[in-house]
């Protein structure tokens, strides 16, 4: 009887991690096809991938877009959450719904819509336009996280700061934002991970400089290769690093 829960756990994690595990395993394949039998381990494909300027360039583009778009989304989300949580505004419920609604819209629709608008406006497609798309999808999330954490328990500290002579911008920078640091970090890390491997919006809104998922897609068209497994493993590694960083900084502080 004791074995049954463990079996269930093993099956559940197997279901979740088997595909990723297979991908990582065959990135160490020695021959040119990422299919059994496994004949590695070899770092041949990693060497090749890291020497490929297109791939490393795309990787840096992805990081830049993810970090830039997340920073903007978190800043806008923070200001919106502060405004709606701390001030009685007309139609605040409607504003909240409109801020969160893009979460429900498919990335394809967001991407297509932006593509039409941006081309009509005559803006060339670039990493900046992809970043704009990522701000659109990350802002609702950042807003929702920050709004939920802006409890009334911080309100008296803000009142105290005002009472002690702080202006509104000083209250925001010196009191509100530092008190919300864990939520701000959470919103930022989540935005980065979502933006980091987002494909469809980046695909639609970039042209010459592309992000890593778009690069992977264009490589996929020439068929399976352990190179792709190696890139995928690097992408996965970066995501894992982000999660561990998040765990070490935000969650540990919260537990204290």
């Amino acid at each position: 009887m004791r074995a049954l829960p463990w079996l269930y756990l093993a099956l559940a994690f197997g279901f979740i991690y088997l595909p990723v595990g297979t991908l990582v395993l065959f990135s160490f394949q020695d021959s040119t096809l990422p299919v059994p039998p496994f004949d590695g381990p070899s770092l041949r494909w990693y060497r090749e991938v890291l020497a490929d300027d297109d791939v490393t360039g795309a990787l840096l583009h992805s990081l830049a877009v993810a970090i830039g778009a997340s920073a903007i989304a978190v800043l806008l989300g923070f200001l919106a959450a502060n405004g709606l949580a701390r001030h009685a505004l007309p139609g605040s419920a409607l504003i909240r719904i409109l801020l969160i609604a893009p979460l429900m819209v498919s990335y394809l629709i967001v991407g297509l819509g932006l593509l039409i608008v941006l081309t009509r406006m005559g803006l060339g497609l670039s990493l900046v336009t992809a970043g704009i798309g990522h701000v659109v999808i990350n802002l609702p999330l950042a807003f929702a996280i920050l709004y939920a954490s802006m409890g009334a328990q911080h309100e008296n500290a803000e009142r105290a700061a005002r009472d002690l002579g702080a202006g509104e911008s000083q209250v925001l920078c010196l009191v509100t934002a530092p008190m919300l640091a864990p939520a701000i970090a959470a919103a930022f890390f989540l935005s980065v991970t979502l933006s980091w491997d987002e494909f469809i919006i980046a695909f639609l809104l970039t042209r010459f400089d592309i992000t890593l998922p778009v690069e992977i897609w264009s490589m996929l068209r020439s068929g399976l290769s352990p190179r792709l497994n190696a890139i995928g493993s690097v992408v996965f590694l970066v995501s894992v690093a982000l999660v561990i960083l998040f765990e070490l900084t935000v969650l540990r502080r919260r537990r204290r």
């Binding site: 008296n156 500290a157 009142r159 105290a160 009472d163 002690l164 009191v175």
Partner: protein, 347 residues
């Protein structure tokens, strides 16, 4: 460093709820005033009006003779100490205390020197580098006090500052607050619902109920000779004896008591439990039988049934000694000053 406060006909409503009705109050410079009342009586709203967090619907606020009715909190010579202390969790104690000085544009060295001096005042000089979460409730309280005093306000507003502390710490902090107030000379206005706290700490008590001031005066006077039945009950336990005022005095089931200057009609006689059995008192209400008695250390609390009205139950605090057994007879004597008579029916 200190200033007088004048409230002139202040009224305020939240929607249809009248939190303050025509409040007029004078507080002298350097005075320690307690605003006392049950929750919902308007005392916290009144404090918010003084601090500038609520703009009253009508009336005026003057601090040190200057009209402050529409001045925002930051530009008033007041600071508020919030009930939950409202310390900045991400700053050290020194930075917390120095925050107001930093906002005033004071340089780091000078403001840290002053913050350390204020931490010294509240006995936390050695802990300047700690964070608020490392402190106990009483210590956070002290930091909040130091932070509020650091900008040297004329008037300090305290919103139930001791509400979250246990009883023993509370009594210790009361003494400390009082001592610090004497030292700095700042006008303190302190909101509380604890009448013992108000009596222990304040030069003057303002009893509030339903948005109005029921009574105001020195603690002993408000306790012994309250201006209204509400104030009488709120300041401590009270025996109510129904009475009818006529030309001869207040006629009660226990005899007629002197009631000079009262309008004839129904009235309520109020007597504190500790005043009820004072040997050698000038007034007598006859004898009473002890129903039960409990030893409380400083006194014996007894329920008494007067012989003249056996269905009535009076509470008396007898001097500690032999605990009387049920059925024992005591005489109800009291001094004339211990008697309060209010017009109208007893509640």
């Amino acid at each position: 460093m200190t200033a007088s406060v004048t409230l002139d006909g202040v009224s305020h409503a939240f929607g249809t709820f009248h939190a303050l009705r025509d409040i007029t109050l004078e507080v002298g410079a350097g005075e320690y005033v307690a605003l006392l009342g049950p929750s919902g009586c308007g005392k916290t709203t009144l404090l918010s009006v003084l601090g500038g967090f609520v703009m009253p619907d009508a009336g005026g606020v003057r601090i040190g003779g200057v009209d402050m009715t529409r001045v925002p909190p930051a530009r008033r010579p007041t600071t508020t100490m919030f009930q939950d202390y409202a310390l900045f969790p991400h700053m050290s104690l020194r930075d917390n205390v120095a925050f107001g000085l930093r906002m005033a544009g004071m340089g780091r060295t000078e403001r840290h020197r002053r913050a350390d001096a204020k931490l010294d005042l509240v006995g936390l000089r050695a802990d300047g580098a700690k964070r608020p979460h490392e402190l106990s409730g009483g210590q956070r309280q002290r930091v909040a006090l130091a932070r509020a005093l650091a900008i040297e306000p004329d008037v300090l507003l305290l919103d139930e500052p001791l509400g979250a502390l246990d009883l023993k710490l509370r009594r210790a902090m009361q003494d400390e607050l009082k001592a610090i107030q004497r030292l700095v000379g700042t006008t303190f206005i302190h909101v509380t619902h604890d009448q013992e706290e108000a009596m222990a700490i304040a030069d003057r008590i303002v009893v509030m109920n339903a948005g109005r001031i029921e009574d105001e005066g020195p603690p002993a006077r408000v306790y012994r000779m309250p201006a209204s039945l509400f104030a009488a009950d709120f300041m401590g336990e009270m025996n109510h004896i129904p009475a009818t005022v006529s030309a001869t005095g207040a006629e009660t089931p226990l005899g007629t008591l002197p009631a000079a200057g009262l309008v004839p009609g129904p009235a309520t006689v109020c007597i504190r439990p500790e005043a009820l059995c004072q040997p050698g008192g000038a007034l007598s209400l006859g004898e009473a039988e002890v129903r039960d008695a409990t030893f409380f250390g400083t006194h014996i609390r007894a329920h008494l049934s007067p012989k003249a009205a056996p269905e009535m139950v009076l509470v008396a605090h007898l001097s500690p000694g032999e605990v009387p057994s049920p059925g024992a007879v005591v005489s109800l004597t009291l001094s004339a000053e211990a008697l309060c008579i209010f017009e109208g029916d007893s509640a």
